[in-house]
């Protein structure tokens, strides 16, 4: 029996303080298949693979490689067993060349003067060139890492495994940082690797990817193995329900919008980043009272910079930002807060909270300088305490020691609750939410959506920036789509289908020229054909089967939007969601 499988993990249990990350999990992987591990954030996928890669040791259970029982002690050991892993965060030396990065640790050596060993960089370059041609992974060995884009960096990581003669390749959420075109390309590469006899383990929470390339799929939920399915014979809806552990509901209660006067008026906004690269190009839009305007787009297309520019964190090159009739283009961050902007930033640990402050100090981060917290430059501790007690209660912020807890020791979800609570309490006319649900579990996501919609109903203007298309389709009244720093389209949510939004997000709707467009629009068409859906404001739509899966894709945000599964937009969906941290375990 045993020889049939190249990897067997039997009855694996792994505990961390406070949680059981894996509970009696058994998986068996055949040589030459693409085996997907599906589960939500925190389901235990990454922990399981970390044990296979020698980063942790299981508390219970055993691992067999090619039928032989092994105790994998380190990543080095795993490498010797021909196991390779592409981590979510690339491990590359930024000022080294592609070839140097790949060969590091196993450099070809030549002798100078017959005895002094030096790194043979010429041989490294030619080896890497040959290797990249063999597997169809185009890289230039002499390029420096910091000058190449993310998807090329990922190819370097794959080549690193192949250079070490890995037979079992683990990919940890490989599409999280890629654009839709790059995802297509990567999936092709992975298929190609299977054809060359490699065994591939794919960690993901995106059903669509699994459907496209995986042979079998193991579903994990809260550390337990739920089922192992044959992908070809299973609908994404079934997978989705198994992954979430309950029937996925798609509805967020929402009254029709009732717009009031214009609160935020952005006109001809141009923003350049530190590298003097134009990231926002001539963007104009308005947000009204009682409106949720969502900006959809693939990560890195300028949407976060728009939010930063409005909040004052990034300088505006030209254009105008008007808040409630007042020009705030040149105002300081503090002035903008006082004039009525709440801002939930994308990067909560570096911006949203001071990690080493206590909870009560953090909950007053935006108004510590005002009464009752501060009088004549002196702080009143009781006011901090009182404010914090109230918000903890109201927003269900859980922490070890209440107000006095150092925020660093709190979970990401509770940190986010604290930020959302604090910003909502400012009662600002304009609220900017950037990726408000990133890395949170389903319950917390629903909760934040409810609060956001409640604020809308209270007449606030809300600017929502999200990489989760589902979130946008679910919450927005108006959708603006950004591509390459330019707004491609602004329309009421009801008038756009997910597919259309997806196409705008990739810039295909606009220009039909470049060659890259070809593959993409094809994907788009395919999608349209299959899905037939489009989700209206009303909410769900038929689409039934595949649709459900999709929405879960973006970690169960679900929403009324169903849409077709392969839709271009969908790919974008979960993407970026877990870039940097926050994510699993």
């Amino acid at each position: 029996m045993g020889e049939e499988y190249i990897v067997e993990m039997r009855h694996i249990t792994k505990r961390f303080p406070g949680i059981v990350a894996n509970d009696d999990v058994t998986i068996q992987i055949r040589k030459g298949e693409i085996y997907a591990l599906l589960g939500e954030n925190g389901a235990g996928k990454s922990t399981l693979m970390s044990m296979l890669f020698g980063m942790y040791e299981p508390d219970e259970g055993e691992i067999l490689i090619r039928g032989e029982k092994v105790k994998i002690e380190s990543p080095n050991h795993a490498t010797r067993l021909n196991i390779g892993m592409v981590h979510q965060h690339f491990k590359l030396v930024s000022n080294y060349t592609v070839a140097e990065n790949i060969v590091m640790g196993m450099e070809p050596v030549k002798k100078v003067l017959g005895c002094i060993p030096v790194v043979d960089i010429k041989k490294a370059n030619s080896d890497i060139r040959a290797l990249s041609e063999k597997y169809g992974l185009a890289v230039n060995p002499t390029d420096v890492i910091e000058n190449i884009n993310v998807s090329t960096q990922q190819r370097v990581e794959i080549l690193k495994m192949l250079y070490r003669e890995a037979e079992i390749l683990i990919f940890d959420e490989p599409t999280a940082v890629l654009t839709p075109q790059e995802i297509d390309f990567l999936l092709e590469i992975i298929k190609g690797l299977r054809e060359k006899g490699k065994t591939i383990i794919l960690i993901t929470h995106k059903l669509e990817e699994i459907k496209r390339i995986a042979d079998r799929c193991a579903i994990l939920n809260r550390g337990k193995l739920i089922d192992v399915l044959d992908v070809a014979e299973t609908s994404t809806r079934v997978m989705a329900n198994l992954m979430v552990g309950r029937e996925v509901s798609f509805e967020t209660e929402k009254k029709p919008a009732d717009f009031g006067k214009v609160v935020l008026d952005v006109s001809n906004l141009n923003v350049f980043n530190k590298q003097e690269f134009q990231v926002v190009k001539n963007v104009s839009f308005q947000v009204h009272e009682g409106e949720i305007l969502a900006i959809a787009g693939v990560a890195g297309n300028g949407q976060v910079e728009i939010a930063d520019a409005i909040a004052g964190l990034m300088p505006v090159r030209s254009g105008k930002i008007v808040l409630n009739g007042e020009d705030i283009t040149g105002a300081s961050i503090r002035e903008r807060t006082l004039k009525g902007i709440s801002y939930i930033p994308e990067d909560r640990q570096n911006y949203g909270v001071v990690m080493d402050f206590t909870l009560s100090e953090n909950l007053a981060l935006k108004n510590y300088f005002k009464e009752p917290f501060c009088r004549k430059g002196m702080l009143d501790n009781r006011a901090f305490e009182e404010n914090s007690r109230r918000l903890i209660e109201k927003y269900d912020i859980r922490s070890g020691q209440g107000s006095g807890t150092v925020v660093r020791s709190m979970s990401g979800g509770n940190q986010q609750k604290a930020i959302v609570g604090r910003e909502i309490e400012l009662a600002s006319p304009l609220m900017i939410f950037v990726q408000p649900t990133r890395g949170l579990d389903i319950g917390a996501i629903e909760n934040i959506h409810r609060q956001m919609i409640a604020e809308r109903d209270r007449g606030r203007a809300i600017l929502l920036i999200s990489l989760e298309l589902d979130e946008i389709m679910n919450c927005a009244d108006t959708i603006a789509v950004i591509y390459n720093g330019e707004l491609q389209k602004i329309a009421s949510a009801g008038s756009l289908t997910t597919n259309q939004v997806g196409e705008f997000m990739m810039g295909v709707r606009q220009k039909e020229t470049e060659k890259s467009t070809a593959g993409k629009s094809e994907a788009g068409k395919e999608a349209a054909g299959k899905s037939a859906t489009g989700k209206g404001t009303a909410g769900k739509s038929e689409a039934g089967k595949e649709a459900a899966g999709r929405s879960v894709t973006g970690k169960g945000t679900a929403g009324k939007s169903e849409t077709g599964k392969e839709a271009a937009g969908k790919k974008v969906t979960g993407k970026g969601a877990e870039e940097k941290g926050g994510g699993e375990e």
Partner: protein
């Protein structure tokens, strides 16, 4: 009860560091053939904290005690200077240079002026604060405006101050006999030297009052004021502070200015209090030791009083230790060094202890 626990938690690791160091140094002393207990007792005697066997005319334990206080006053300021910068996330390695700049300016402007005591003493303090503050502000400005690492700029400035002032002293203000700068007038001196009190002659350091006030003010600054909240926020996370609307650049310049002002006070209490003159070409170790003193005091203003007293006790008492216990004075800096060594590790030890405690709590929970 809870408060007591908190204080104990803050204090126990520095105490452990001190204990380990005393044991380690005791072993060294014993190995060189002296009695460590006698040596340590001699340190106390030399600092006026324990009676000596005999006293010369006009001297008593009180004389020694006052001279000890006079000796450690500058260190309190210096350690506070380090702590203020550190709370805002900056390393002020330039305390020695700022001390020198402030001390020299006050010496030239007031020490040689012939002003009366009532005008001169406050003026010395004021000049110390202004010059030190400016020197600190320059570092903060370089950091904010040009992104120059403050560790680098303070080291560079240390040498620039040292050599320029050495040049000025040697060229214009040198005392040909002592080869130091000409001694400052008694009126400008912040320590009342050899003051007759009863049948004793003691040095009364006025600076200690200012130092204690500074301790309280720094404590209020960080625990009770808006500015302190902002400085701490900047120290912990510049990006989050900016997001909160705090002007980060201003905070960095301000914290370096305050730090420099405290360093300036250290300078005037040293050069116009304890010493009375400046030795050219010499940069004091005070500024560097202060980093360690502040560390040992957990960057807490009250903790700093105790760590200053301890470190100063060792160096101050070392002369007497040599004469009675026959131990080289240089051992004092070795003991200090070992204490610093242990306290540099304290963050790690604390971290380990905490982790072990939380793991224990965890297993206890699971067992139940």
């Amino acid at each position: 009860m809870k408060n007591k626990n908190k204080i104990w938690n803050a204090v126990k690791i520095p105490l452990l560091a001190i204990l380990c160091s005393l044991v380690a140094a005791g072993v060294i002393i014993a190995l060189t053939g002296s009695n460590p207990f006698r040596a340590y007792y001699a340190l106390l005697q030399g600092s006026g904290l324990a009676p000596k066997a005999a006293y010369a005319n006009y001297k008593s334990m009180l004389t020694d005690l006052f001279s000890y206080v006079n000796y450690f006053t500058p260190m309190i300021f210096a350690a506070l200077a380090v702590a203020v910068a550190l709370r805002a996330g900056l390393f002020n390695i330039g305390v020695s240079g700022q001390m020198l700049a402030a001390g020299f300016t006050a010496t030239v402007l007031v020490g040689y002026s012939g002003l009366g005591a009532v005008a001169a003493k406050p003026l010395v303090i004021l000049i110390g604060m202004v010059v030190g503050g400016l020197a600190g502000a320059l570092v903060g400005f370089l950091k904010y405006r040009f992104n120059i690492n403050e560790v680098v700029s303070t080291i560079m400035l240390n040498y620039i101050f040292q050599y320029v002032i050495s040049f000025l002293i040697n060229t214009y203000f040198v005392d040909p006999v002592s080869r130091q700068s000409v001694e400052v007038s008694a009126a400008s001196r912040l320590t009342l030297m050899d003051t007759q009190a009863g049948n004793l002659k003691i040095d009364i350091p006025l600076g200690i009052l200012v130092a204690l006030a500074a301790v309280v003010l720094v404590w209020i600054l960080f625990d009770k004021t808006k500015l302190g909240y902002e400085l701490k926020a900047v120290g912990f996370s510049r990006s989050a502070a900016r997001y909160a609307g705090i002007r980060v650049g201003r905070c960095m310049v301000l914290s370096m200015t305050i730090s420099g002002m405290l360093a300036g006070l250290a300078g005037v209490t040293y050069y116009l209090g304890y010493m009375g003159s400046i030795q050219p070409k010499v940069l004091l170790n005070t500024g560097f030791d202060a980093i360690a003193v502040s560390l040992l005091g957990s960057n807490n203003p009250f903790g700093i009083i105790f760590s200053t007293m301890l470190i100063s006790l060792i160096s101050k008492g070392s002369t007497y230790m040599r004469s009675t216990a026959g131990v080289d004075t240089e051992i004092a800096s070795v003991i200090t060094g070992i204490i610093l060594l242990f306290s540099a590790c304290s963050a790690y030890i604390r971290h380990r202890l905490e982790r072990r405690r939380s793991e224990k709590a965890q297993t206890a929970k699971e067992d139940r």
